[in-house]
Symmetry: C2
Subunit: 315 residues, 2 copies
Amino acid sequence: MNEFDLIHRLTRNLPANQALVSGAGDDCAVLDLGLGDRYVLFKTDAVVEGIHFKTDTPPQKIGHKALARCLSDVAAMAGTPTAALITLGLPPNFDPTTVESIYEGISALARRYETAIAGGETTTNPERIFISVALLGTVAKNKCVHRSGARPGDAIFVSGELGGSLSGKHLEFEPRLREAQWLADAFPPTSMIDLSDGLAGDLRHILTASGVGAELLSDSIPISRAAKLHARVESSAKPPLLAALTDGEDFELLFTIPSSNAVAVLDKWKKQFPGLRLTCIGRITAARGLKLRDKGGLREIGLRGYEHFTKPEQS
Amino acid sequence: MNEFDLIHRLTRNLPANQALVSGAGDDCAVLDLGLGDRYVLFKTDAVVEGIHFKTDTPPQKIGHKALARCLSDVAAMAGTPTAALITLGLPPNFDPTTVESIYEGISALARRYETAIAGGETTTNPERIFISVALLGTVAKNKCVHRSGARPGDAIFVSGELGGSLSGKHLEFEPRLREAQWLADAFPPTSMIDLSDGLAGDLRHILTASGVGAELLSDSIPISRAAKLHARVESSAKPPLLAALTDGEDFELLFTIPSSNAVAVLDKWKKQFPGLRLTCIGRITAARGLKLRDKGGLREIGLRGYEHFTKPEQS
């Protein structure tokens, strides 16, 4: 049973109440606590030694990544972070200096986004460091962007460049909070998600939640230098396009907007965020499924993106 | 370096912002999100296999304990829980039925206190189950009880009976949410905490936060049947009084109220909660330190409660 099957099984019949606007199935849980025209966003995310970082990863970067993942989820709903709590599971022989450095990485990022670190706790996890971050934020009710609003005809956009994140970016990425808030004001997305599982996987979350399909343009997908370099120097590496579709941990914004706004958003984004690429990579279709258009025609990207893509069915 | 030293070192200079009313150093972090006359309470707490429960602990009880610990912290500030997120670290060979049963234990308790389970995530923790719960609640600003308000002359009360929790109660305890809310309305405590580290340790948290001392009456401390039984059948066990002072995981309420209300609260509590004992165990003093009065006179309970108590300095 994989993570998604398990989560589906666990979240079928969870207790709800009047405050819960939406729970599992979006980047953050959304709560209405009676805060006037704002919702509260609520998110937890964990990083584990040997899984999400290595034993020799610089501890500031571990802390940065732990908080940045949660901030990226708040960004995906166009929210503003407020406060975080840090849960640290530590082996009994932990080095206090390492733990302080993890906190420095967390704190430096928190200060940049005016997020309070409201405390937390330490406990024992004998074999490895386990860090769980809980984050609270808020968002104006009429600016909150869900995964479920994509409509046929919408243009699909992605920020930055994709693939090869494990060569470094996954420890240093900047959560796209400012970009997402600007979008929600200037060109409200119909749907948005942050890229953690890879473009193909995360776009599928939007398609499922919205009940639509998509067609991506192979040539337009922005491939990172890291993914290209990796494919060049290592013969067993994924082809760069496949890396961009499936590597994961990009932590860029993937969103849809009505196609009538497509040219304007590209133009204004370039002026607003000259250092960060924005690319239109395809469009939402009424027909279900995720397809990729290239010189050979239109190919289905199957449910298990990787396998099906390397052995595509011709359409 | 122990947990308290580390937390002190980590929490000296954390990022704050205007929303943060109080962070580390109370049972929950307190946030003012602009919710009229209410604060938001924010808490995380983790339980780890082999530390807080055994591999053969019934999974429903694991789930119950994981959520109940957080609810107990919201109770300690006289708050009302709203929503929780569950982070599950699981070994790769986890049994889905076990995980579902953990969620059943969480959900049954959540329903009892109208708390939404707003989602969460699963990740890999190869060697053992690690469960971190993040909880949001609210509390009326004028009813929120901190650790820092105890004043000389206040009477000290504790709910329930103490010691021996590990023989079963730590997996089944009921968070004292209703009792705490009733207190906050009827006899507002000047300070309150939930008993997780043991009476001596947790009372010391109140004394430190309030800048006061305390004198406990040895004969009045309510000792659980489990602690007495344990001392009788196992020669190496702590004496029952020491167990009640230091065992931990009682998850009862420890609070102070002005002594003028002491008789009235005992009287009204008995009518309100006939199944749950309430005991006055001593009083707050201007002189710092934690002292225990018994037939032999007044003895200091040292910083390392256990050792000093077994070799008391006569006063």
